[in-house]
Amino acid sequence: MIDIIETFLAEKGIYMMTFILMGLGIFGMVSSGNYMKKIMCMNIMQVSIIFFFLALGQKEHGTLPVVVENLLGADAYINPLPHALMLTAIVVSLGTTGVALALLMKIKEIYGSIEEEDITGKRWKK
């Protein structure tokens, strides 16, 4: 029994963790009232997806996808594609976060607060 759970965790555990992380990220974005926290949760969610792709790229006995001296054959290296994709995704999430922070500064200037309650109560609601 424990064996089964162990193999299951070994094989799928990382995916489970990433999805829990993602679920928590979305949950946090929905539930927290502070905009800064929302941004943090957004980052957690994005990171979880990056983890997911990187976990997909893992391979048994694989090493870094850099040819050091001679090419050792396809089994020797982990999958480079998810890494490349995730570099793009990281930069994209960086850009998004940057814009989010700029917006947050602007919101702070206009409303004097970054708490959703203050903003909704004061001026957002028509």
């Binding site: 539930s31 999958n79 480079p80 890494h83 930069v91 850009g95 602007k106 200037e109």
Partner: protein, 261 residues
């Protein structure tokens, strides 16, 4: 007080709900995803093999991630760079409508006084900055051989600038860029990338087809070198863009917010 506790309880319930749903899905469909490390999964047997086996030959890049990023999927990376530029411009536009915070101009003597608190740190940073710059260039040119690349190099250069900018005791050794100028430079960086992509068209190649850069290459080896040139050129564009964008955002934020010194 009571409300807060109620809220907390709701949050805890939510967290456990999320965890339960994920675990439930995984136990319901155990074969949803291939096992981690499973070398026979479709992920590892199709494109992956091609890249691993052919990237050195196709592109001359030892680092397969760089090969994929800058060559096979160079078009993605072009727009990734654009995302950086766009983020910088957007941040600038969003914050440009608010008034700049005017800071009192400090005399050199004052500036020297307000610092990290100790001369040792000041001097240490003074030494570190050139090292960072040199390291950045190393990372840039080494991108195709081992780990590194334009984004990292750009970030490093920006850090060098940042240290120079935020340590008050520094005497602006790298100069003081205006945020608009930074945005212009970032745009030029992307444009270098685009030009690199457009050049092969003169050699009857497709957009970003480095092997057909019009520099005259016949043998396979020369074509491989051309790929290296192409990758280097676009990495330069990326470096310029990333560095300028980070500086841009930094300047925007610095000019419009009152930080406690």
């Amino acid at each position: 007080m009571n409300m807060d506790r109620n809220k907390d309880r709701k949050k805890i319930v939510g967290v456990f709900f999320v965890i339960a749903v994920v675990i439930g899905v995984f136990f319901l469909f155990p074969d949803l995803l291939p096992a981690v490390d499973d070398a026979k999964a479709p992920v590892h047997t199709y494109l992956s093999d091609y890249y691993i086996e052919n990237s050195l030959e196709d592109t001359g890049a030892h680092n397969m991630v760089t090969a994929v990023l800058a060559d096979y999927r160079g078009f993605d990376t072009l727009f990734e760079t654009c995302v950086m530029f766009l983020a910088g411009v957007t941040a600038l536009m969003v914050l440009s409508t608010t008034a700049k915070v005017t800071k009192p101009e400090r005399s050199r003597k004052e500036r020297l006084q307000i610092s990290f608190g100790s001369t040792v740190l000041d001097i240490a940073f003074r030494i570190i900055v050139p090292v960072i710059v040199i390291y950045a260039f190393y990372v840039l040119v080494h991108g195709e051989l081992s780990l590194g690349g334009g984004f990292q190099a750009g970030a490093l250069l920006a850090i060098a600038y940042m240290i120079d900018r935020i340590i008050p005791s520094f005497n602006s050794s790298l100069g003081n860029l205006k945020e608009e100028t930074a945005a212009v430079i970032a745009g030029v960086g992307v444009f270098i990338y685009i030009l690199t992509g457009l050049l092969p068209m003169a050699g009857s190649g497709n957009f970003l087809e480095y092997g057909k850069l019009p520099f005259g290459a016949d043998t396979a080896e020369q074509i491989r070198q051309l790929h290296g040139t192409g990758i280097l050129l676009i990495e330069i564009g990326v470096v310029v863009c990333v560095m300028a964008t980070i500086i841009n955002i930094l300047e925007v934020v610095l000019e419009r917010t009152e930080f406690d010194d």
